[in-house]
């Protein structure tokens, strides 16, 4: 595991796979059974991997060229005629470049469009800050009608994509660029809007979304060695928030650490804090990008540099000041 692994991200003991591969594998499966599935991309089909879909279903793949805004409204138009379009591009383009079209063509009229966003978070790596979407969750969860999913590994990415195709309405699907550890704890069946409690604990709760789930588990293990029982709630659905799971955790534990490969502004952390502060206030400390742009580097280096490792989660958990209870 990646616990205290320093610059090490890969381990021989763990399988690593791309979440974007899970997305495209799901699309190919779905399209075989459902004629309504179509895929659009904006000249990044090799990077998003939708070129594999194009190979399998050339007549149901539409390369829009470098025009993300147009793609979003085109997808909305196709959905009005009964198709289920998966509009695919990098997270920065899907949310910032095409923000108006996503808001007004898709979210507002509840268009049945799924937005597949890859290259989210600093683990996008070498391309640097311009290409690392760290505010996409914040933007998407602020749009009414939008469901926001950030799966934790390859298999969950696949399950989330399948679940999105079965929902009627707009869904934002968040994927990364890198290969991320496959997390066996996530094999408990995916449901939109339901958190997975992947580790029990009654002192504090670590709430995580996306690909940092294995860092969260490693942190919980490390806290366990110090006698602190950390529950881990994996929330692949950032919106709608699983309020029941949070409320239960608020009753049964005494503090929260949220973990996301995203800005601490507007993301999972603020969603959790916002809910708890109005229901059962508990201290919430947030791990994520701290109001800074990223930079070029390898995924592992950047997670170290911006403090999104298990040891950083442990530090935040200890800062909650919760003593041992047993």
């Amino acid at each position: 595991m990646a616990t205290n692994a320093g610059k090490r991200w890969r381990s021989w003991l763990v399988e690593y796979r791309e979440t974007r591969q899970g997305y495209v594998d799901a699309l190919i499966e779905l399209a075989a059974a459902d004629d309504r599935i179509v895929v659009l991309d904006c000249d990044v089909a090799k990077a998003t991997k939708t070129y594999e879909f194009e190979r399998a279903f050339p007549r149901r793949f539409f390369n829009c060229g470098v025009q993300e805004g147009n793609m979003m409204s085109v997808a909305a138009g196709m959905s009005l005629e009964g198709f289920i379009p998966f509009a695919t591009t990098f997270g920065v383009f899907a949310t910032c470049r095409a923000g108006d079209q996503v808001r007004n063509s898709i979210a507002y009229p509840k268009a049945n469009v799924k937005i597949g966003a890859t290259h989210c978070g600093v683990t996008t790596g070498g391309d640097g800050a311009s290409h690392q979407a760290n505010e996409d969750i914040a933007i998407m969860r602020s749009f009414p009608n939008m469901t926001v999913l950030a799966p934790g590994d390859y298999q969950e990415a696949k399950e989330a994509t399948i679940a999105a195709s079965r929902m009627n309405g707009p869904v934002y699907l968040r994927f990364g660029r890198d290969k991320y550890p496959v997390c066996p704890e996530l094999r408990d069946g995916f449901a939109v809007g339901r958190a997975k409690e992947i580790r029990a604990g009654n002192d504090l709760t670590i709430v995580t979304t996306g690909i940092l789930v294995t860092e969260a588990l490693a942190a919980a293990a490390s806290l366990g060695e110090r006698g602190l029982g950390a529950r881990v709630l994996h929330m692949a659905t950032v919106k709608p928030l699983d309020e029941d799971a949070l409320l239960r955790a608020a009753k049964e534990t005494r503090g929260f650490v949220t973990v996301e490969e995203h800005s601490i502004i507007g993301g999972l952390g603020e969603a959790v804090a916002g809910f708890l502060s109005a229901t059962l206030p508990r201290p919430v400390r947030r791990v994520g990008m701290r109001d800074v742009f990223g930079q070029s580097g390898r995924a592992a280096e950047l997670l170290d540099l911006y403090g999104m490792r298990a040891r950083n989660i442990v530090d935040e958990a200890l800062a909650l000041g919760i003593g041992e209870t047993h």
């Binding site: 179509v38 007549r59 149901r60 539409f62 829009c64 060229g65 025009q67 805004g69 147009n70 979003m72 409204s73 085109v74 997808a75 909305a76 138009g77 196709m78 959905s79 009005l80 005629e81 009964g82 198709f83 379009p85 108006d100 079209q101 007004n104 063509s105 507002y108 009229p109 509840k110």
Partner: protein
Amino acid sequence: MTLTTALTIEKNTHLRSKAAQIRCSIVEMVHRAQSGHVGGSLGAADLLVALYYHVMRHDPGNPRWPQRDRFILSKGHCTPVLYAILADCGYFPVEDLQGFRRPGSHLQGHPYQPKTPGVEASTGTLGLGISTGAGMALAAKLKNEKHRYYVLCGDGELQEGQVWEAAMFANKYKLDNLTVIVDRNYQQTDGNSEDVMPLDPLGAKWRSFGWTVQEVDGHDMGAIVEELDRANRATGAPAVIIARTVKGKGVSFMENDAKWHGTPPDGDECRKALEELARGI
């Protein structure tokens, strides 16, 4: 493919009278709401009347009839003309027009497809409509459906980059089931379009993007029908009709005055406008 017969003299007279009636409805609606865009709506009235009362196949009793032709108002601020026509056709009760721009009404300031019967796509921020229409037209091609798509956009709207993205897209997929009508009145919110951000030579721009380009006097009912018909027959490329219009058309003191882009008429102005328009019915 939709083939329309040329206008008889009687039909032409009827359509012109209908346009005058719709213009009255526009003025009343914007006056009542004390909010909305009267100038652009008046200017586009003849184009929409030609479409809804002669060219398009549609069924107000069955708004989701799969074979219907679809109209998208990309210059979404001109809802008064669209709502007046949809109500007159029977998509919803004429009384609903009283709720225009009021809380609880389905008649939002800009078109909202989920709520208003007959509204095909939600628009508002400029530039969305051609892309949406292109997506719909592409979908129809995939399903081998023969109905047509009409998108009305403003000339100021053409300053949006998304319009030209959509223009490239529609050309790539040879969407000859799509007709874009440009409401070319040379007026936009801040003044003359050629001062704010020049668009001419506009036909050449569209032609270079691979579109079939036609031009028409946007107030000559017979010519409008003829050009729409010609666009319907063109194959292999999407068509654009640049319709030369007068913003505020039909109300002498509103014509070609940018003030009437977004200013609602007061009681006196409303009465004067209705008197003038009534003569055309």
